[in-house]
Amino acid sequence: MFLSNSTLGEVVWTQVKFKVNAYLGTLVSLIVVQILGLILSMNGTSSMSTNFNNTDFQIVWITADTVIIFVSIWALFLGNVITTKGYRNTNFSFVTNGISNNLSNIIVLIIMSVFAGVTTFLSHYILRLVVPLFNDVGYVKSGSIIDDPLSSIASMGLMVGLILMISAGGYLWGTLVYIHRAYMFLLIVLIITLPTTKTGQMILQFIFADNGSLFVLNVKFVCVAIIFFVLAMLSSYRLEVRR
């Protein structure tokens, strides 16, 4: 009798290759989401104005904020959807077990988050090129990759971290929903309670506010993502394949 011995690493790697290939469609949906975000960003995300000597002086900031909000929603959906029954069953049509399935899902989410973060960052340059075509206004020379590589990388990293954290949240949420449907309402409960209760506010404050630098904030994002992933793995360890 010949038994092939696949190590966990091998199986995870094969699953990752398979999943990235199989989930390419989600990246196309990401592009759609980004383009939608870009279109809505054309008028600027925030502006300030003042009146000086009878002249209205206005600066309109065109940032990646709208795009990142859209992409975050996409990330939540992505993390959630790969835990659903259909996706889970297709994974188990090939060699895998609970751990390798989780690990490969996590790696796929990381890969997709990096892709989403970097493209979100770069997509902003489309705005920089397109917006001047439609508006006859002044432009401020803006920090670009060559001018300010460090801050560009930091902000790219922040986008990746944020998207990863949200997709991890979606993944945990989806895993819990798979275990019991009642968890469906968890997200809604969280959305209501986090900003309204004292502890919720404290948690939010701890993560998002009072950070010395963007780097610290990003580290916090990644830590939260890791916590979400670990929780998802622990809670799904004894999960059966329901097909």
Binding site: N54, Q58, I59, T63, G138
Partner: protein, 230 residues
């Protein structure tokens, strides 16, 4: 002329060449890949190429546009403005930085009163009372560093026109349309405003137009618009 033409075509040719190479690469990789995925892969490849091109093109063409202040410059400007304002409020004419000086003039008054009229302009005024018995009024107009969101407003916003008539000083703002600047940033504002003090500082409006008058004590200054500090 012909030299210039060739030079301007070269970068375009270069970009076309890069696109062609990238498309070739994308095609050869996607040939090894199945049909259903091929359209997805094409879309992704094209999107990435477009993004990279956007960056390259932006970096190459970004020549016009206002320089924005760095936060370091901002801080020094704010400090200089503050020093000026301090000196202005304290009637220390000698300390007023002459590089802010825009215009100065003197005027022989006919009567005993001087009226300062503001026609929509936006200035701060201070008066230094002199012991002179003459009718002569000295006036200086200053503008400190005027920035908003890192943009030099001083350059764009015209100074009020100044009209000196008998015993009147009329400052009329030139009603300029409006001035809008677009500013792009890589940063996520909803994080940077919370976390980045520099960014908050950069959004402040700084700068003013000042009028400094030296007026003999016996002259009555009529200041209907309440420009004066005290």
């Amino acid at each position: 002329m012909s030299n210039f033409g060739i030079l301007s075509i070269l970068p375009i040719l270069g970009i076309l060449f890069i696109i062609w190479r990238l498309l070739r690469l994308a095609k050869s990789t996607s040939n090894r890949i199945n049909w259903a995925q091929r359209s997805n892969k094409w879309i992704l490849c094209i999107y990435i190429v477009v993004l990279l091109l956007a960056v390259v093109v932006y970096e190459a063409t970004q020549t016009n546009g206002e320089e924005a202040l760095t936060s370091k410059e901002y801080t020094t400007f704010i400090n200089k403005n503050n020093v000026f304002q301090q000196a202005f409020e304290n009637n220390e004419e000698s300390k007023l930085d002459s590089k802010f000086l825009i215009e100065e003039w003197t005027q022989e008054l006919e009567g005993d009163s001087l009226e300062v009229i503001l026609n929509g302009s936006d200035v701060l005024m201070n008066i230094e009372w002199t012991d002179s018995k003459e009718q002569l009024v000295e006036a200086k107009m200053y503008r400190t560093y005027s920035y908003m969101g890192g943009i030099n407003m001083g350059k764009e916003i015209p100074l009020p026109t100044l009209e000196v008539k008998d015993n009147q000083i009329i400052l009329t703002a030139i009603p300029q349309k409006e001035r809008t600047y677009y500013r792009f940033t890589n940063e996520l504002t909803f994080f940077s405003t919370v976390n980045n003090l520099d960014a908050r500082e950069q959004r402040r409006v700084i700068g003013h137009t000042y009028i400094y008058l030296k007026v003999p004590k016996h002259i009555n200054v009529i200041d209907k618009d309440g420009l004066q500090f005290y």
